[in-house]
Every structure is written in C-alpha cells, then in structure tokens.
C-alpha cells in the first residue's frame, strides 16, 4: 500500500507548477546565447519547428505516461515505464527519471544559491562603485569559497545549504501545500520582474546612464536572421538541444507531476498551456533582457566575446555592473528583480526535481513525505558538495554534461520508442486524448510515431559523433574527425588531455592533472548513484513480488 496521498490543489496551480518546472535559468541565460551563436533571428525557425515536432509531442507523451502510471499508483518513472512495457529491463531505463533529477539538482541548487546570494548583495549595494573587472572578480572570489564577501564564513557553502534547506522544507509540505504554492507566487512574480527588465532592455538610449548604444542595436544583433545558417545541421542540433533544456523533457519530472492527475481529467490542453507559457518566458522575456542590455553598454564585439563563455558569465559577472549604471536605487531594484526572477525560475525547477525520488520512496517503501523530502535534501547535499568545493576543477560541468545533457536525450529517445512502438500508438493516442479539453490534431499521431523518434535519434547520433567544428559536409565527404564536444571525445577526455600535453607552466600542468582526476572521480560517483538507484528499483521489484503486486 503506497503512503503517497499527494494531490494538486487546482488546475491553474498544476499548470503554473508544470510551467515553473520548465522555466529555468536556461530560459534567460542559455536561449539568448544559443540564438546569438546560431544564426540570430534565423535560429528561431529551427527552434520553433523543433518545438512543434519534438517538444509538443514529448510533452504529450510524458503527461500521458505520467497519468497512465498514476492510475496504477506509480509516481516515478521506473514503475511508470514498467507499467507500459512488459520487459523487465524497462524499469531500469526508468532509473534515468530519478537519477537525472538528483544529479542535476546537485549542481542546479548551487547556481540557485548564487542567485539568492546576489539578491542580498544587490540590496546591500555590494556592486556599487565596482568597475566591470571588480564585479567579475567578485564572482570568481565568491566561487573560490575561501574568502567571504558578507562576513559569513564559507559564504558560497552557506547559501548552498540554505537553498537546499529551503527546497527540502517546501518539498516536505507536499504538492498542493508546498510546490504549488511556490509556483503560484513565483511564476507571476517572475513574469512581472521579467516584463520590467524587458521594458528596460527595449528602451536603452545611447548616451543615457552610460549606455553606448540604443537597445535596437542589441535586438537587431539577436534577431537579424542569418539565413545561411539555416541549412547547418549544427544549428538544428543546437535548436533541438535547446528545446530539451527549456521544456525539462527527458527528466522524469513531468511524468511525476502528471501522475497525480486522474484519468478523466485533461492533459492535452494542460500540456499546451504550460509548454507555451515556457515559450513566452523564453522567446519574449528571455530574449529581451540579457543580450540587449549587455550590448547597449558593452557593444557587439565585447558581448560576442563574452557569450563564448556562456550565459552564466554575462549574468553574474557583467549585468550587476550594468545595473549599477542606472543609479543606486534603480540598480538595486533591477538587481533584485534579475536575480529574483532567476531564483524563482531555479527553485520552481529544483522543487520538481525532488518529486520523482520522493514519489518512488513513498510508493515502494511507504516512506512518509517528510522523510522522503529530507532524504532528497541529504543526497543532493552529499552529491552536490563536490560541485561547490571543486567548482574550478570541472566537477560542475561534468554533472551538467552527463546528467543535464546526455541523459535527457537518451531517456527521451527510450520513452518515445516505448510509447509509440511498444505501448502502441493506438493506446498512446487514446491516453493523450482521454478527457482532453482541446482537439489534438491527428497529424501528431504520425509525428509521434515517426518524426519525433527519428529526430531524437538524429540528435543522439549527432551528439555522439559531432564532426570537428560542426563541419558535416566535410564529415560526409569522408573526412570525419570528431569534435572535442562529441560524446565519444568527452568520454576519452580528449580536450583535457590535449591541454595537458600542450601545457608548459608547472602550475597549469598541476591544475589540469587535478582537473582530470576530479572529472573521472565525478563520473565514477554519478555511475555509482545510478547503480544505487537501480539497486533500489530491484529491491522494490522483489518486494512487489513478495507482496503479490506483480
């Protein structure tokens, strides 16, 4: 008998929680950078196409898988997929839906804790009077842990633990009493803060408050299409990858949230509403803040240089300095809004990551909600501390790559095959349309069965054997040299080993050797966690057999 008595409070609450799960830091930090790097305005075409033929199908698949599993008392992916596919191995593939969340939460909560800390620093006026280098140095000092900027010893660790405690406490309040309440407050505030900052992003004038360019320069840079990029497989791969990140598909969180929806209630319209809400936050708000404001003050060349290091650098090392140009009061308000919206985007996602593990323990081992929540907090703390303590040694990036990137594609591909080919498209279609408040276009039967799995397969193979520099034409012509970003070269640590071979400075050599050690150690740790969860799934299976539930 499951100890799981969770329920959603309201339909709007469920949609906001689901949208909050999808809306994350990537909407504001990853999307605009991807757009700049992949053809500007032209990127939106493959991006929206991938949303229509991969994102929406995956949303419907995961919502209906979750609701189907919930009917049999299953609220996490191992036994949700086990209900749908009769082969005993499916439940071990379902382990991805718990493992990914634990591993991602471990480093994600660390970024979340930066945003929380930066809210306080914005209020305290820490960034006033600092030049751009000063703000960048502040961030580097912060993540170095050794020095404190607030008088709190081990400040980064303190905020990380504070953030984890907050997540755990909210999770212990349950779905309607915790997760949904946060989403109902957090999502409207996030949109409100985003709209204010987007307004600022649209109205920057050259010469005012130290701005060098009008906001039109940044917006044109972001949105002017480079149609020559449209035929590049690399751009399509980037667009498909962004759809994964932004919708939180392939993680197991959507399954878990949807497993508390009854069979007669709608999922088709709910999925569309939550999915498009995420698109609004990403395409409308996300594209109007980071790049236009940065270019307004720093110009195209400098920002192009900065985006090579990703959106995190711009968000934490550059924007606080730019906000300070708006004056002490407005700068503080903008800082609170920017890091506040990132915090809400982060926490609504990290809360979702806790629910599959909790659902699993409640379903299979009759754990109480509170114990399950605290066990999640503890595991994330243990697994996350290496990302905090050894941030400069690539542990953070390693977790992000394997759990936050590769794992999503692998699980999404597996679940799509299960849904469309094993469970069967006929039954799958009935699941999607049961209780639907909208008419689901019939073309999606074909898309889910053929287009989505093929696209996912292509994304996986494309990532596995990415050719050097993304030059697919050269690769197909026979000269297929693997890029360092390909999965195969990542496994072999090709880039790191090359850097080590080329390094001459003894300090650098030592740092790279340590990095190599920590990279391999983090992989072993991640594999051990996966095997540990798989072991629990096996124990749960034996328990089910003993109790006559199988």
């Amino acid at each position: 008998m499951s100890a799981n008595k969770e329920s959603w409070g309201s339909r709007v609450g469920l949609i906001l929680a689901m949208a909050g799960n999808a809306v994350g830091l990537g909407n504001f930090l990853r999307f605009p950078v991807q757009a700049v790097q992949n053809g500007g305005g032209a990127f939106i075409i493959p991006y929206l196409v991938c949303f229509l033929v991969m994102g929406i199908p995956l949303l419907w698949i995961e919502w209906s898988m979750g609701r189907f599993g919930g009917r049999y008392g299953n609220h996490s992916t191992p036994y949700i997929v086990d209900t749908m596919g009769k082969h005993r191995l499916w439940k071990y593939i379902g382990v991805f839906g718990i493992w990914t969340n634990i591993a991602v939460a471990s480093y994600y909560c660390y970024i979340e804790s930066w945003t929380l800390s930066y809210v306080f620093h914005s209020i305290m006026g820490t960034f006033n009077g600092l030049d751009q280098n000063g703000v960048a140095t502040f961030f580097d000092t912060y993540v170095s842990i050794g020095e404190s900027t607030m008088g709190i010893p081990y400040e980064a660790v303190f905020f990380y633990i504070l953030c984890l405690l907050l997540n755990t406490w909210i999770l212990s309040k349950g779905l309607s009493g915790g997760v949904e309440r946060v989403a109902k407050v957090g999502m409207p505030l996030l949109i409100l803060f985003g709209m204010f900052l987007a307004y600022k992003g649209f109205t920057i004038k050259a010469g005012e408050a130290g701005a060098a360019f009008d906001s039109a320069v940044g917006l044109n840079f972001l949105w002017t299409p480079d149609y020559s990029q449209l035929w590049s497989p690399t751009v399509w791969l980037a667009a498909a990858g962004q759809i994964f990140f932004t919708l939180s598909v392939g993680m197991g969180t959507i399954h878990c949230y949807a497993s508390y929806v009854r069979s007669k209630d709608d999922i088709a319209l709910n999925a569309m509403s939550a999915g498009w809400m995420n698109e609004f936050v990403e395409v409308v708000l996300g594209a109007s803040i980071l790049i236009p404001i940065s270019i307004g003050y720093l110009g195209i060349d400098r920002v192009t240089e900065l985006v090579q290091q990703g959106g995190l650098g711009l968000a934490f090392k550059t924007l606080p300095y730019l906000f300070a140009q708006w004056g002490e009061v407005l700068g503080a308000i903008a800082g609170v809004m920017w890091f506040g919206l990132l915090f809400f985007a982060g926490i609504t996602s990290s809360l979702a990551m806790g629910t599959p593990w909790m659902g699993f323990l409640q379903d299979e081992f009759q754990w109480k909600r509170k114990s399950a929540a605290w066990s999640f907090g503890l595991i994330v703390l243990v697994l996350g501390m290496p990302t905090v303590l050894f941030f400069h040694y690539g542990v953070f990036d390693e977790y992000d790559y394997w759990a936050g990137t590769v794992s999503l594609v692998v699980f999404a591909l597996a679940e799509t095959i299960l849904f469309a080919w094993v469970f069967g498209m006929g039954r799958g279609w009935r699941e999607i349309t049961a209780g639907a408040d909208i008419k689901v276009p019939g073309i999606y039967k074909f898309i889910i069965k053929f287009v989505t799995p093929l696209l996912l397969l292509w994304v996986f193979i494309g990532s596995l054997v990415t050719p050097k520099g993304g030059d697919w034409a050269k690769a197909f012509a026979g000269d297929w040299v693997l890029d360092d970003s390909s999965i195969i070269n990542k496994i072999k640590n090709t880039s790191l080993k090359r850097q080590l071979a080329e390094a001459t400075d003894p300090a650098m050599i030592e740092h790279l050797q340590e990095t190599l050690f920590f990279v391999n150690a983090s992989r072993i740790l991640l594999v051990a966690v996966f095997l540990g969860i798989a072991g629990l799934v096996y124990i749960a299976y034996k328990k089910r057999v003993r109790e006559g539930r199988i």
């Binding site: 409070g9 609450g13 305005g41 309607s176 319209l269 709910n270 509403s273 498009w276 609004f280 395409v283």
Partner: protein, 48 residues
C-alpha cells in the same frame, strides 16, 4: 522579431484562456480546491 513575440504571446494567452474557460468536470477530480464546489458534485439518483 515583433511578429514572433506577438505570435508566441498570443498563443500563450489563447491556451491559458482555454484552460480558464474549460467546462468543469464532476467530482471526484484531480484537484483538492474544488472538492466542495456544489456545481461539481455528481447528481445523485432520487428515484426511491
């Protein structure tokens, strides 16, 4: 740019309004808040 932004905003509002205006389903449903809503209770047979 504006066309894309307006399109995405419009579709988002459209689906959210559809959710808000969807006819209620009878109890028991998936949501706790409307458990006691009189309009959602299943009509009991009164033929005895």
């Amino acid at each position: 740019m504006l066309g894309t932004m307006l399109l995405v905003t419009g579709i988002t509002i459209y689906f959210f309004v559809r959710v808000l205006s969807a006819p209620p389903k009878p109890e028991p449903d998936s949501y706790l808040d409307n458990d006691d809503d009189p309009d959602r209770q299943v009509k009991r047979r009164t033929d005895t």
